[in-house]
């Protein structure tokens, strides 16, 4: 069937693009919240995390999808974890050897990728029952959907929490109370609870625009 189906058929496009809107892993499936709180105090780590999760997710989806007919049902979760952890460690080792600066930026995220529920969630819900190419698209789509939310949250948190974006100052120094101005950074924004509130606001906006998502 898939031999005759084009690589970007309508169905495949949906697999790729749905996670960006009405099937978003963070705001609709409510997965991966923990790392969304941890790494969104600034934009740069959020983007690095988004890229790493997308890469690891896409490839573990492909591997699990290729193995799907051999995996014994009773140990499938363990197999999934082993695949994810192996991939993450290999990527980490390669970065340490050939791209040391990037591996330093990733530091703690590596551990966070292994525990990210989106990975297990997508492997369990999609890759175990679908062909490698579709699983790859699903992985890329979900990684991108996750990254999109991370970047939106990090944008607000860094702008209002530190007055900067990508570490560059946006709100002028002279506005600050310390320099005789009227403004001060919102300390709440730096702390994880504010990330949860921003995610909540995004869910609210998304649901009010897309009535399909509202449960009865």
């Amino acid at each position: 069937m898939s031999n005759k189906e084009s690589l970007f058929s309508k169905k495949n496009k949906e697999i790729l693009l749905n996670p960006l809107s009405k099937n978003n892993p963070v705001t609709v499936q409510i997965l991966g919240i923990c790392s969304a709180l941890a790494v969104t105090a600034q934009l740069k780590p959020a983007i690095v995390m988004a890229i790493s999760v997308t890469i690891v997710l896409a490839f573990s989806c492909v591997i699990i999808s290729m193995l799907r007919n051999t995996i014994p049902n009773r140990i499938r979760i363990i197999v999934q974890l082993v695949v994810i952890a192996t991939l993450v460690i290999i990527v980490d080792q390669l970065l340490k050897a050939y791209s040391y600066n990037i591996s330093k930026q990733l530091s703690v995220f590596v551990g966070l990728i292994i525990t990210n529920c989106i990975l297990m969630g997508r492997l369990e819900a999609f890759a175990l029952g679908n062909k490698p190419w579709q699983s790859f698209l699903d992985g890329v789509g979900n990684g991108a959907g996750y990254g999109m939310i991370l970047i939106i949250v990090a944008f607000f948190r860094e702008l209002f929490g530190s007055g900067s974006l990508f570490g560059l100052r946006i709100i002028p120094e002279s506005w600050y109370i310390a320099n005789g101005g009227f403004y001060s950074n919102n300390g709440m924004m730096i702390l994880p609870p504010m990330a949860l509130i921003i995610v909540g606001v995004i869910i609210w906006v998304q649901r009010s625009k897309n009535k399909d998502l509202i449960e009865n």
Partner: protein, 233 residues
Amino acid sequence: MDKNSNKYIFIYASVMVILVAAVLSIASISLKSAQQKNIKIEKKQNILASVNIESTTKNAEQLFSEKVVKSYIINSKAEILEGNAFNIDMKKEKQLALDKRSLPVYEFSIDGETKYVFPMYGAGLWGPIWGYISLDSDLNTIYGATFDHSSETPGLGAEIATKKFQKQFQGKKIFDDQENFVSITVAKANETAPKQYSVDAISGGTLTSKGLQKMLLNDLGSYRAFFKQKKSE
């Protein structure tokens, strides 16, 4: 074979584990030398950064051998020990009692003035933090500082690795007017410490900031005999 039989599951799990172990060991062994080279270069870059010299991964080794006048190891009584200062692992030294530690010292010559560089190693919130402090030839004024960490929270504790935080240390004193060792306080907004002995803590990174303060107090403190000896020379 039945996919749900115990035999199949055992074989499947065993083969998977052996395969994965083999792949990971091959990756680890074959990449080790490249990784260690990176770590060495990074250490040289960090030491150079503490005396405010910018280096790239390419020129760090050359700059380092040019700028370091001498390096040696001392103990806590300021007696010179045998060995190569660069190979000392501060993590291992910190596990020993103070009088058994080997303490590296690097001497740089910057614009004709001697600068001393001392390594630091301590605990942050989630894992180790470390760094290098350089002092002017008076062994009181901080010339530069650099810090790094293994797993502090990005945007919070991890800010100790930023230029902005490290720049604060320049020009601060570690001895008061009566020649008492005071180290540097990493002060929160509600703490009042004299400006010349303190820097601002990181908002949201209190435990890392306090870990850093403790590290400075302990590790600069272990060189006290050396400071005293050099000052009386």
